[in-house]
Amino acid sequence: MGRRRLAWGPLLLVCLLAAACNGGAESEEPAAIPTARNTLGSAEAPLHVVHWGDFQ
């Protein structure tokens, strides 16, 4: 388990950094329900965390 985490951890970070540098995949986010009303924080923030959840 520990070895697997060491393997994907740096890879994931590189992937995330690359996405951040390229503006990420923001255009891939769904727009069915307006995002702003379900969003906390500043639009200027460099990181955008999107959580798909179920209240049940």
Partner: protein, 143 residues
């Protein structure tokens, strides 16, 4: 799990400091009560109270989300209950929710919690690992 274990420290460290913004998207997949709760949360959003209602619902999650719990969360979030009930009973957000679920499936969401950071999926093994990853990204961004 995300809402109770990951979200509070994440919001405190990153959202309240302007480093990250946080968006909740619906992926109700555990039956009719899941969908009802998602619709209820959108009715709360109509009253600019999505996150107070989100918090109240997750506090009641362990009790099962009956209509009584959904309404109780509305009271706890300080909503106008008449407007809330009218909205929920009309199912006015049903079509938008269905479209959101369809879009989520297209993005590969199959279960919850599912989290993207700047468009890239991240694993959710522990809250501390999640926060450490965000700290690394924030440092890279100059924060």
């Amino acid at each position: 799990m995300f809402a109770t274990q990951f979200e509070p420290p994440f919001v405190e460290e990153f959202v309240q400091t302007g480093i990250a913004r946080f968006t909740f998207r619906h992926f109700p997949h555990l039956g009719p009560a899941s969908e009802e709760a998602a619709l209820a949360a959108e009715c709360a959003a109509d009253q600019a109270a999505f996150f107070p209602y989100h918090d109240a619902l997750f506090e009641r999650q362990a009790q099962g989300l009956s209509r009584a719990e959904v309404d109780g969360a509305a009271r706890a979030a300080g909503l106008d209950l008449e407007l809330f009930s009218d909205c929920l009973d009309s199912r006015i957000h049903q079509d938008a929710l269905a479209a959101e679920i369809e879009e989520a499936r297209r993005l590969g969401v199959a279960s919850t919690p599912f989290v993207l950071v700047n468009g890239v999926r991240v694993p959710l093994s522990t809250a501390e690992e999640f926060l450490a990853l965000l700290r690394a990204l924030a440092a890279q961004a100059g924060n």
